[in-house]
């Protein structure tokens, strides 16, 4: 095992982490501001991927597709918020889970209705094809580096949005005191729709970018959704900083676990068995990590409120 391979896997883990951050940031923002647990967030990721793939196929341009994915997922998010989600803010978590579970069924089947059961494919745009030399690694896929870059830009952008802008101020106020912000004359309903659409757009962006790495198909959002939940639970629900930390932790631990565990077991076991046990354990690893963290810190590493 060379150091180069190890660094390459680390970068892959980072790329997964960045993608999870885009999902988790929206989820945690929506929970922090509106107190809503949204299972349908993975559907918005799927909507983004489909929109990008379909528009890119029609226009021949990935970039137009990317813009379309942002618009489509933000619009789908806003409409869903207005029609369904805003009725759920005062409900308990059980109702929220069920209603958004129902939304998943509708989104998934709706996509199958529109696009059929066959997966769509999305090519990496020419500008980002190929590999770049990295010191110590050799060649690394440019597109994956670009995803990491986008994640960093979004993280910084979110930080400025929340810390420095009027919208961010209202979001922070909404987190701490809903009635107060209403009393101050801020239109809370519009604020909630905007926050939800923002979260949806981030999920759609993640879906569109990942769509070029794997096939675009119904149900693609669900594994990512569950990983994103693990992320925000580890990070502390409602905390963007926790989401960033948790996403990178989960991305790196998952990727490195799959890479390293079989090799570690191979030191003591025959190769076939080591591969088996290593792979099985690796697939459970992040959940084990999460259970450990919650056993000691039941509200995550960066719990937002006391």
């Amino acid at each position: 095992m060379s150091i180069a391979l190890l660094i390459e896997q680390l970068l892959n883990g980072l790329q997964l982490g960045v993608m999870l951050f885009l999902m988790a940031a929206g989820l945690t923002l929506i929970f922090g501001v509106m107190g809503l647990i949204n299972l349908a967030h993975g559907s918005l990721y799927m909507v983004g991927a489909f929109a990008c793939a379909a528009v890119a196929a029609a226009t021949g341009s990935f970039w137009i597709g990317l813009v379309a994915s942002l618009i489509a997922s933000a619009a789908a998010g806003a409409i869903t918020e207005i029609v369904v989600i805003r009725r759920l803010y005062d409900r308990d978590h059980l109702d929220q889970v069920l209603a958004t579970f129902a939304l998943i069924l509708m989104f998934s089947e709706g996509m199958r209705w529109l696009f059929g059961s066959f997966p769509l494919y999305l090519d990496i745009p020419p500008l980002l094809q190929g590999a770049v030399p990295l010191p110590g690694v050799g060649q690394y896929q440019l597109y994956r580096l670009a995803i990491i870059g986008v994640g960093i830009v979004v993280a910084i952008g979110l930080y400025f949005l929340i810390a420095r802008t009027r919208l961010g101020m209202r979001i922070r106020a909404g987190e701490s005191d809903r009635e107060m912000i209403g009393a101050l004359g801020v239109d809370i309903r519009t604020l909630y729709t905007v926050v939800f659409a923002l979260g949806a757009a981030l999920a759609g962006l993640a879906g569109a970018m990942v769509g070029a790495l794997q096939s675009v198909q119904v149900g693609m959002g669900e594994p990512v959704l569950i990983l994103a939940f693990v992320v925000i639970v580890i990070g502390g629900i409602g905390s963007i900083k926790g989401a960033l930390f948790g996403a990178i932790l989960v991305g790196v631990v998952d990727t490195m676990g799959r890479f390293l565990l079989p090799k570690i077991f191979a030191l003591v076991l025959p190769a076939a068995q080591a591969g088996l046990i290593g792979a099985a354990l690796a697939s459970m690893l992040i959940y084990i990590v999460m259970a450990f963290i919650l056993a000691f810190r039941p509200s995550g590493l960066f719990a937002a409120q006391s």
Partner: protein, 329 residues
């Protein structure tokens, strides 16, 4: 004395539901329609799983989003034990497999209990959304293990070639198997009723309504909830073993989070924390699934729509409509 009519409206509805559920496959059997017997068995088994979950979710207010773990574990116990018996290969340490249903159920109950204990002990340290998420995560852990462990079929699942046996009953016959499941469901409902009425149920329900109140009288909510979680998992595990025998097949999909969601849906469709809620819910769910499936291949879309409407507008579920608001003595 409390006003106590001899038969409340809910009791009447419950008896009718129980009779309908029994009459349907008997009629189908008389007409030789085995498909409908299988459909009724599916209702009964899903209802049994949901009665199990209802102990935690309905009585205790513990929204476990991971009960598919126990459903699937029960299924795998049935699959693995019967495969070993079928191939005449001993399990670990020379223990033989078995095709006897009662033994399988017992093992399923024990395995589910043993696994639910640590899962519950860790999960119950958290509340609210964290509890929902951590139970989901534990179930995913078991799901991914089943997918990636090839010994028992991995992702492809495991077939049960001949349905397991019950002493004195020909289980290969659909109606006989239905009756076994039906009796177990009635026993489970009886147990649920007893638990709810006893001291344990009083403490569990009080904890759902107001955990601080429970602690202030000196009863630690954690212990009560942990017992409820484990009992709940055990019951769902038996249902899983029956489900595997019904389909003669077990696969990771029984462990999936969709399954966990479906179990919650059954309870809510029927009416939360009500004795026959899971039964009414399972009847409605399977019938919707069947009826819509006959009309459109996109039935899941409409299932979602119906479910959404129930959550938004009909919060008491089917029993809420039929029997009015739930009452406590």
């Amino acid at each position: 004395m409390p006003p106590k009519p001899r038969l409340s409206r809910e009791t009447v509805v419950n008896i009718l539901l129980a009779l309908m559920l029994l009459a349907f496959p008997l009629g189908a059997s008389a007409m030789g329609e085995t498909f409908y017997i299988t459909l009724a068995t599916r209702i009964v088994v899903l209802a049994l799983a949901a009665v199990g979950l209802n102990i935690a979710l309905g009585l205790g207010g513990l929204v476990s989003f991971g009960h598919a773990a126990f459903f699937g574990l029960g299924g795998y116990v049935a699959g693995i034990l019967s495969t070993h018996a079928f191939n005449a290969e001993p399990l670990l340490f020379g223990i033989e497999g078995t095709t006897s249903m009662p033994v399988i159920w017992l093992v399923a109950v024990m395995i589910c209990g043993i696994i639910a204990l640590p899962i519950g002990a860790i999960s119950l340290r958290t509340t609210g959304v964290y509890f929902i998420m951590i139970t989901l995560a534990f179930a995913q852990m078991i799901y991914f293990f089943a997918v990636s462990w090839p010994a028992y079929g991995g992702e492809d699942g495991l077939s049960i070639y001949v349905r397991n046996e019950f002493p004195g009953v020909n289980t290969a016959q659909p109606l006989s198997f239905f009756l076994i499941c039906y009796v177990l469901l009635m026993l489970a409902l009886g147990l649920f009723w007893l638990l709810r009425g006893a001291r344990f149920g009083a403490a569990l329900e009080a904890g759902r309504q107001n955990a601080t109140r429970l602690a202030a009288v000196g009863i630690a909510p954690f212990n009560i909830r942990l017992v409820a979680f484990v009992v709940s998992a055990m019951m769902t595990g038996i249902a899983g073993a029956l489900f595997a025998d019904l389909n003669k097949f077990v696969s990771p999909s029984m462990l999936s989070w969709h399954m966990s969601g479906e179990l919650i849906v059954l309870i809510i469709l029927g009416g939360k924390a009500r004795l026959f809620g899971p039964v009414a819910g399972a009847m409605l769910y399977v019938l919707i699934e069947y009826a819509l499936g006959g009309i459109t291949e996109h039935w899941q879309f409409f299932l979602g729509l119906i479910l959404l409407c129930v959550v938004l507008f009909a919060r008491g579920g089917l029993l809420g409509l039929l029997a009015g608001k739930a009452r406590h003595g």
